[in-house]
Symmetry: C2
Subunit: 336 residues, 2 copies
């Protein structure tokens, strides 16, 4: 019997959980397209999942994030763990949602059932990346992937935010960073649970480590930071102490330091669970996402209100000074 | 008899139209504060006005905009015209809404009833500058000022947009510009009706003129530009031809070239009226403002929805996976 032409999100999710990579890819494509389809998928996957550890990896273009992620996948596999990667990196030659790109990225992992790598284009639809990325992560979580890595380029505010909304966030820098990430340095410092100095065989690695250490010391992490693990927020005197972001030096192209990074991720996961930080972050993320969805829904309404004969008529009344713009807006809003 | 403690917006407007500068300042302060008071003022002034010519002046910090505006005011006064200035320039030492700042800015014009200069701070309230600046311009228009100049620093997107929403937009550059405005160059090119090379006595003025001329040639102004006067959009074969943005060289500190700028503004006003471009721009501005008000109103609703016990309860349902975020958003929106 032929396969039915279209499977529901629930059917696709069942198949994806059974190892059907095509079904998983279709769920992710639907999420990526946004709109009603994405909502249906989100609704279908929501009851399932919560077991995945999510890792956000971000840093300036050219920092070697993709190579590092690929090496990290290898390390996870050697430890017997399965890992999915969602790459949102417009600076990467592989990104753009192209199947070829995904195959190229897969590289050595292409034939490994324990690895799933997906490039995602950043689209212009309402809510954009800030809605799409968490929804895609939830699909991978619901499909049973225990580790979900989200790679973004740490330049745009949204990209940094998205990487920061993970159980563990890794910020990748290079020796002599500074210029490229200067504008976002504060934002990157704020979200980092782990720093990686990649290309650490280049001159300046020791200086970069000192820079990071002094910035960490200055940041007074018990203070303004939003819950990256200060002792004061653990709420339990017997819990683990605060998390001080470690600095890991790697050379992703040779694999140097990648085992240490993997060990650090595992350690941060343990800390997050023991300290309650994972639960706190998930609640905060859910609240932030809920608010973003409300805003996106309202913006859709506003876009719909901002055109058409009714809008044009009211605008003409405003132009003719028979109606002030606030009263015109009231009439438009009354149409909601 | 003592003056009543509080005058209505309509009363203040009557007084302002009669020359009461204190009443005008109070109307502008109310607009600047935003909220219901600003809406009341907007409603009160809306039926009046439409006679003012609005001039947006923008450019990078340090381009000499404030000095140029002051010189332009002097030129307008010599021509027997009254002129009001709204300065929204966070890079200016005078800005911040301070009365002292306004007095300092007034300088030589402080005792001239035909001049009104007001510094406006950019505030963080919803809608912000993009709602406040046009509302303030309308107050000055309704109060009977025939020329209203809006000075903004051309760095932020909103500031450039606000300056672009004028009957005539002047972009001020310096010899050897480039770096400072590089990021916004396309945006500035798009809104400019007139270019001013200020500090034209410095080296590089001729190069800057050539740069601007070649960019203007490249821009193919009959194409993608949104109505800055291409012939194709005039809709009348007998109307005036397209407007090609002239380049005026000035040395604002000595007054050199300022008379030519004033003449150019007058010429662009004539062109705008003859070509119908003024009317088209005003209709477009009204539509854009109406849409912004709708968005601001919806964002206020969203902010109110994004906190409180009802929100927290729904978020907790999402965290517990009893409710998906889209359905939770539906319930929040149903509260509107």
């Amino acid at each position: 019997m032929a396969r039915p032409p279209s499977r529901s999100p629930a059917e696709l999710l069942d198949a994806a959980r059974g190892g059907d990579r095509g079904a998983l890819a279709r769920l992710l494509s639907t999420v990526e397209r946004g709109g009603d389809g994405a909502r249906e998928v989100s609704r279908a996957v929501h009851p399932v999942g919560g077991a995945a550890t999510t890792v956000g990896i971000t840093g300036s273009p050219g920092a070697g994030k993709s190579t590092l992620v690929s090496a990290l996948v290898g390390e996870a596999r050697r430890a017997g763990e399965r890992m999915a990667v969602l790459a949102i990196d417009p600076s990467s030659p592989f990104t753009g949602g192209a199947i070829l790109g995904d195959r190229v990225r897969m590289g050595e992992h292409a034939l490994d059932d324990g690895v799933f790598i997906r490039s995602m284009a950043t689209r212009g639809h309402l809510g954009g990346l800030s809605l799409t990325a968490p929804a895609a992560v939830r699909v991978l979580d619901a499909a049973g992937w225990p580790w979900v890595v989200l790679e973004t380029v740490g330049v745009g505010q949204v990209e940094v935010e998205v990487a920061g909304e993970a159980d563990t966030t890794v910020v990748v820098v290079n020796p002599g960073w500074g210029d490229a990430v200067q504008a976002n340095k504060a934002g990157l410092m704020e979200i980092a649970d782990v720093f990686v100095i990649n290309k650490a065989d280049r001159p300046g690695a020791a200086d970069t480590r000192r820079d990071l250490e002094s910035m960490l010391a200055l940041a007074d992490r018990g203070g303004s930071d939003g819950g990256r693990g200060p002792a004061g927020s653990s709420g339990s005197a017997s819990g683990p102490g605060p998390w001080v972001p470690p600095i890991v030096e790697t050379v992703a192209t040779t694999g140097q330091g990648v085992a240490e990074l993997w060990g650090t991720l595992a350690r941060h996961r343990e800390w997050g669970q023991a300290s309650g930080e994972v639960e706190r972050r998930r609640a905060r993320r859910s609240g932030a996402e809920l608010h973003r969805i409300v805003v996106a829904r309202l913006m859709e309404e506003a876009a719909a209100l901002g055109s058409g004969a009714f809008f044009d008529g009211l605008r003409d009344e405003v132009v003719a000074r028979r109606l002030d713009p606030w009263s015109a807006a009231d009439r438009l809003l009354a149409e909601l």
